[in-house]
Symmetry: C2
Subunit: 290 residues, 2 copies
């Protein structure tokens, strides 16, 4: 590692959002270019891409990632779902606002235009949702909607409008109660019942949606596991999860990873990456302790 | 008219939003009750309902009206569509935020739960939209989406997901360009082609949606005309349109009304109402001049 890059990592990996913003503005003033614009270059190394993503503030970063997903074909639905389901209602709204400002279109407009069929039916309401975030749970509703989900799954109607409605409009607390009811009333976790065809991409996305809404740390653990073992189709997953979760939920994800893989996340990443990229990722996942 | 009520009208009809808020707070402090709670009473006269709606700030009023619509069966879809399509993107978002605070659920959650079929397919994305509001228009897109709309209308597929996508996600400027293209390419205004079955309630709602998105003053004129001539099913329309539009777009609506009916709106309202209710409505529609 050259001295400059070591210094950049040291500075960037330990700065908060306000300081990062200042760095970006200095960059723009110095080089006359927006860092975000540079991000579109396909010539970046993993290190450069991770570094530049990290310098964005979380709202800009999510808007950028969704826009990029809207232009791609591979795995882009997962990125859109992940951002829609794991951010807070208010943060997701701020991403939609940033999307207007930067791309002169609405986020849901682009998602609707670039998707079709079942993916569109699921993703457009997911990105448009402004879920209630209180803890209140209606148990009667949880029971009746668990029954609806079970009926539709028995009929293999995975794209039924009632399934979509429940998952895209109810609060996370309410969905959690509904899925607990499902488990109690019908004997299986819903995601087990949704595994009838493991190769069906829409079904995989539906299971991942449920995981993101109820146990995001488990979703992120699995995403990292597949990325590190090169089993996923999601080529940017390692960078994306580390960068977007570094200041959010990394401690839980690390614990989940260690439990599930019997190896600490640090060691797994060190074994899978090298050089500046490795150093940056390790600095970022240690961020909370630093 | 008693002195007290004349005074109330005089004060309330000429106050701005900040002053109205103060009045509400004074009311709450004096009577120990929230005005909005009183609104749920079914004992109110037209006058009292109009007065209390007017004292709410626009965001609270819209949240209240949508919640009320979610509990009713008659004409409620129209109220939901009207609020979703004629408010600015930011104002609609503020209504969703207010809905969380007041009803402990999300607005789209209640709309999705209380609607079915084609109405749900149209209304949920309408209330969830955060449309881009710039003037930019993509003419290529306008042409291709005009063609899509025409194909679906020829096939009588009025509830097709592409029709819904275009109307619920595109900016109002873009929709306007698309509908102009429709008119130029296919020889009819789209709403003429959507009149194949004048008794189809969904088709009527679709036409009204298009009108609200592109020519709201024409939509409000027609709504007032039907209400004043007792031809509509929308019993609260007169109060709702006058109260919600008094500080927004009343001048245009009055001009449109006069042109279409050869009678000034003031005179039409005076002929249809009486007493305090009449005085309040007249004070409100003259608000901009007052």
């Amino acid at each position: 590692m050259e001295n400059n890059e070591a210094l950049i990592i040291q500075i960037l990996a330990h700065r908060n959002a306000a300081q990062l913003k200042l760095i970006r503005e200095t960059y723009a003033a110095t080089y006359g270019e927006d860092l975000l614009k540079d991000l579109d270059s396909e010539l970046w190394s993993d290190f450069q891409r991770a570094l530049l993503l990290w310098t964005l503030d979380p709202t800009e970063r999510d808007a950028y990632l969704v826009n990029e997903a809207n232009k791609q074909l591979t795995s882009s639905n997962w990125v859109i779902m992940e951002i829609a389901c794991t951010r807070s209602s208010n943060d997701l709204f701020l991403v939609r606002k940033e999307y207007h400002a930067r791309y002169k279109r609405s986020l849901e407009e682009d998602v609707a235009y670039h998707t079709t069929g079942d993916y569109r039916k699921l993703l457009v309401p997911l990105v448009s949702a402004f879920r209630y975030e209180g803890d209140e749970v209606n148990m009667m509703l949880a029971k009746s909607e668990a029954k609806i989900l079970h009926e539709k799954i028995c009929d293999k109607a995975y794209n039924h409008e009632e399934v979509i409605r429940i998952l895209t409009t109810r609060s996370k607390a309410q969905i959690n109660a509904t899925l607990n009811q499902y488990n109690s009333q019908f004997g299986n976790a819903i995601n087990k019942d949704l595994k009838s065809d493991p190769k069906d991409d829409y079904l995989s996305l539906l299971r991942a949606t449920i995981k993101c809404l109820t146990r995001p740390e488990k979703y992120f653990e699995k995403t990292l596991r597949l990325a590190i073992n090169k089993l996923g189709k999601d080529e940017w997953a390692l960078t994306r999860v580390v960068v977007t979760q570094a200041e959010v939920n990394m401690q839980c994800i690390k614990e989940e990873y260690h439990k599930r893989n019997s190896v600490p996340l640090e060691r797994a990443i060190a074994g899978d990456t090298s050089g500046d990229y490795e150093n940056l990722l390790l600095a970022l996942i240690g961020h909370e302790d630093a």
